[in-house]
């Protein structure tokens, strides 16, 4: 039966199932295929902390949300057009996100009596009228998969494991997509067991063909390629972009990368990615604990390498003392915090921005550090590169903040050419200027030189005790201490001379409301501000990459708006800093639920402020 084709500008889909259902893989494949086709995409994986949470339960639901479109896409979408639910629990958890008249694709096999009980349903929602407002496509995915593989010789467990491919094939047909990229992926992933390659390809095709031949729906959808800026693109996840940015910075600084870290969600993928690139001279060191991780980095940095560590809030808390040593020694290093819900162990797989004050103040003594935050998955690359630049060129530990949302989310990236990346230049010792090496002699930016063991005549001792200006000898002199505290602060402040002036990212340059944001809220705030601005509201959007020091013109930008609203996934941390720094009556828009803002929530607040 031939089907009509309906054009869509943007579509949001949620894939949901058990954490063992291959949901993340399915979502990633669908994303990559759409990205390769030329759509703009934005994704949001949302999964439980347990690796194999009890099957069929509400706690065990793993979800993957993506928005793809022929127009610019900045968020994974507020509400969904399509929900793919592999069982009753996945259905129940995600139904509230589905828009009225949206489409539900359900695996009916996941709605048996046991599933319904685990999902705490008294009646079957497929039959009790729950779905009256939606378009439902019921498929017995398990049965179809088993039928497709009846002759495969595989066990039931392995057969059922390829159910996700059936759904994926079904969606590829529905959205008129070429399956080649996924087919290649399957061949690569299972190259050691040809029978699994065959099985997965077969089920993928079966899903595609089923959508074609069954009379499930009458029209297919077409989402045209987006009008992105011309150039070459790839899809990239935040942690991956962070890893690539580190390798790029190491190359551009001609310093080997030493990455010391201890496994922690959601930062570990940076370690995994870097460990793949040892042919770049990347040394990855999985330390015995968080403290050892930062300490090995200090050792490597003293040895002249680009030392980097990463963790999440709990690990950063453990590293605090050693980061302070880094501040005192004035050695270059980068500390990555992929933030998650806190306090304590908190919500390991959920996102939050509640470690900003920890980055500012989480050390004993006056221990200022530059702080940068990435705004999106691909922005991790440019931001971590800049963090490395500042660390090396200004001889200081630097904080780089990401969070679970951008770490695991993905989007198209117009990747740079290595030749277009700037060189990073360390300050070396010039024996002609000062024959007797003095470790704390500074240049006009108050930066000391980086002289590493192996350099004849440069022998020197550094340590955590307060040191005399210039010579670096231990000093308890009161005036010297105050002088050194001031120097370390001014050194960080002077970095503002080397960073770009802040721009109004979107909307009005002046007017009623300024939405001042940082980190992963970029996409939703941008979407909301554009919409409000299009409605005629005089609202502007300023998004900060540099949180310490701030861009020099920030006060000036802020003063052009009547109201300043700071949306954050915390209880007002940037808000406190802005109020203290600029003495203005900024207000917060706060959400601490472990999930990102929706654009609607931001938009509502903007409208309330002017209404």
């Amino acid at each position: 039966m031939s089907k009509t084709v309906e054009e869509k500008k943007e579509v949001t889909i949620v894939f949901a199932g058990d954490s063992g259902d291959g949901i993340q893989l399915t979502g990633t494949q669908f994303t990559n295929t759409n990205a390769l086709f030329g759509n703009d995409v934005s994704t949001f994986p949302n999964y439980p902390a347990e690796i194999r949470a009890p099957q069929g339960t509400l706690a065990g639901v793993s979800g993957f949300q993506l928005q793809f479109g022929s127009v610019e896409v900045s968020t994974p979408g507020d509400v969904c057009d399509v929900l793919v639910a592999m069982n009753a629990a996945a259905f129940k958890v995600n139904l509230p996100r589905l828009k009225k008249s949206g489409t539900v694709i359900v695996n009916t096999d996941g709605f048996n009596a046991r599933n319904l009980k685990l999902a705490e349903y008294d009646t079957n929602p497929l039959e009790d009228g729950t779905l009256n407002d939606f378009r439902t496509i019921p498929i017995d995915v398990s049965k179809m998969t088993r039928m497709a593989l009846v002759d495969s010789g595989l066990g039931k467990k392995e057969v059922d494991r390829s159910r996700n491919m059936f759904v994926l094939g079904f969606l590829y047909y529905m959205y008129n997509r070429d399956m080649k990229a996924t087919e290649n992926f399957i061949r690569e992933k299972f190259k050691k067991s040809p029978e699994l390659v065959d099985a997965n390809l077969k089920v993928l095709k079966a899903g595609y063909n089923f959508a074609d031949t069954s009379e499930t729906f009458t029209s297919r959808y077409n989402v045209k390629a987006a009008q992105l800026k011309s150039g070459e693109y790839r899809n990239i996840m935040g942690n991956q972009a962070t890893a690539l940015g580190l390798i790029a910075a190491s190359k551009k600084a001609s310093r080997d990368l030493f990455y010391g870290s201890y496994p922690i969600t959601p930062a570990s993928d940076i370690l995994h990615e870097l460990a793949k690139h040892k042919n770049f001279g990347v040394k990855t060191f999985q330390a015995e604990d968080e403290i050892a991780a930062i300490c090995t980095v200090i050792g490597a940095s003293f040895g002249g390498q680009l030392g980097v560590t990463a963790s999440s809030g709990p690990g950063i808390a453990l590293k605090g003392e050693a980061i302070g040593l880094g501040v005192m020694l004035e050695l270059p290093m980068v500390v990555i915090n992929v933030q998650r819900g806190g306090p304590s162990t908190g919500l390991p797989t959920k996102t939050e921005q509640s470690d900003l004050l920890q980055a500012f103040y989480g050390r004993n003594g006056e221990a200022p550090m530059p702080i940068l935050a990435a705004s999106s998955p691909s922005d991790c690359f440019a931001t971590i590169f800049e963090a490395c630049r500042i660390a090396i060129e200004h001889m200081t530990p630097v904080f780089f903040l990401s969070d679970g949302y951008i770490a695991n989310g993905s989007e198209p990236w117009k990747f740079p050419k290595s030749a277009d990346l700037r060189a990073i230049q360390s300050r070396d010792w010039n024996p002609d200027e000062n024959a007797e090496y003095q470790p704390y002699l500074r240049n006009l930016d108050l930066v000391r030189s980086w002289v590493t063991p192996g350099t004849p005549g440069g022998e020197h001792r550094i340590g955590g005790l307060e040191k005399e200006d210039v010579s670096g000898d231990v000093s308890y002199d009161p005036d010297n201490h105050e002088k050194m505290v001031n120097i370390r602060r001014e050194k960080v402040e002077k970095i503002a001379n080397t960073i770009p002036l802040q721009e109004v990212n979107h909307g009005a340059e002046s007017g009623d409301v300024l939405m001042l944001s940082w980190g992963s809220t970029y996409g939703v705030v941008k979407t909301a501000v554009k919409e409000a601005y299009d409605k005629g509201i005089q609202v502007g959007h300023v998004h900060l990459r540099h949180l310490s020091p701030f861009p020099k013109n920030l006060a000036d930008l802020i003063s052009k708006f009547k109201k300043v609203i700071i949306p954050e996934m915390n209880q007002g941390q940037l808000l406190k800093i802005i109020r203290a720094e600029f003495l203005i009556d900024a207000q917060g828009l706060n959400k601490v639920k472990g999930i990102p803002f929706t654009a609607e929530e931001i938009l509502n607040r903007i409208e309330k402020e002017v209404g």
Partner: protein, 343 residues
């Protein structure tokens, strides 16, 4: 920079700095500093390639007095910092200066992990069985019942046996010496410096202010010969004022015998490569006031040749380069799935 002597050879003096040494007068640390400075010209390394890293504590002031590269870091972490330095710079000669509190209490975790990884570096553990810098609290090596400021009725902590702990973590060089025997100290330091792998050297060091005489029984001329057992590879375990006592293995049990009753051939012959016997030797840890106790061994307990972490790390980097070729930044920035958007 200091100059070498007329023959171009560096001397101990070339390794001292212009900083005033600030340990208490009479502290055992002075002797260790002197011996370390004296062996430096003999270890076959250039001055600029030597790095001393310490944690926190009295002993950790050490790097300020060595005219090499150095870092006085934070409490317990010298071992971890040295691990990072040695991983990234295998070419350097790295020395860790630490104490019983620094290495065994706050830094215990890093110590054992450093040992199992077996970096080629040297650890000098100054054991004085007390917290000196904080003015006299008991440490993880203080004996049970030790009365200190924080234990007015006596310590109820069972102490660590440091070398047994180190062997348990698969250390590849385990030795003990003492501040009051410069000759022995020098010999052990040199042996440690020659070992390729982590050399773990425990040094009994007297804190004459807060724990004076803790090791007197091993260092005092009157009691030393009876209470210590000086280990020498290939030699029988003989001790005593008249060299008239020996250690014999009776079944698995070390037993003190008189050389009037046994010949030296009947005794335990020390073999530095024997891990099982080394474990027994590190268990010679009796309280010297207990009747029938074994003497305390000094010298090299154990040496093993095992691969070094930094070498294996370098080999993996080489292997990756052979497999994938030298890293091409543009290739990884592109990735595998690229699409083009036309203008």
């Amino acid at each position: 920079m200091k100059t070498a002597d007329q023959n171009g050879q560096l001397t101990a003096k070339d390794f001292s700095t212009d900083q005033d040494v600030r340990w208490c007068p009479g502290c055992g640390d002075y002797s260790i500093l002197k011996q370390v400075q004296s062996i430096m010209p003999e270890i076959g390394r250039k001055k600029e390639d030597i790095v001393f890293i310490s944690g926190i504590g009295c002993s950790s002031r050490f790097p300020y007095y060595m005219d090499t590269y150095g870092m006085h870091s934070i409490h317990g972490r010298a071992t971890a910092i040295a691990s990072g330095l040695k991983s990234s710079r295998p070419d350097l000669s790295v020395w860790v200066i630490t104490g019983d509190g620094d290495a065994l209490s706050i830094g215990g975790n890093h110590l054992i992990h450093m040992l199992r990884r077996n970096f080629d570096l040297n650890v000098l553990l100054f054991n004085n069985e007390i917290y000196g810098l904080t003015k006299g609290q008991y440490s993880p090596t203080s004996p049970e019942g030790k009365v200190t400021k924080s234990t007015p009725i006596g310590s109820i902590d069972h102490p660590f046996n440091p070398l047994k702990l180190c062997l348990g973590a698969d250390a590849t060089f385990v030795a003990r010496t003492m501040d009051r025997d410069p000759k022995h100290q020098r010999e052990i330091l040199l042996k440690g410096s020659q070992h390729v792998g982590t050399s773990m050297i425990e040094i009994y060091q007297n804190c004459n202010v807060f724990n004076d005489g803790a090791f007197e029984i091993f260092t005092d001329k009157q009691s030393k010969a009876e209470e210590t057992l000086m280990l020498e590879d290939g030699q029988p375990l003989v001790f005593g004022a008249e060299n008239d006592k020996g250690i014999r293995l009776d079944g698995g049990q070390p037993t003190i015998v008189s050389l009037n009753d046994y010949s030296k051939d009947d005794l335990w012959i020390h073999n530095e490569k024997d891990k099982f016997k080394a474990q027994l030797l590190t268990s010679f840890f009796d309280n010297p006031s207990v009747e029938g106790h074994l003497p305390r061994p000094f010298g090299v307990f154990y040496i093993e040749d095992r691969y070094r972490y930094e070498d294996a790390m370098a080999e993996q980097l080489e292997f990756a380069k052979e497999q994938k070729g030298e890293g091409d930044l543009d290739a990884i920035l592109r990735g595998r799935n690229v699409w083009k958007v036309e203008a």
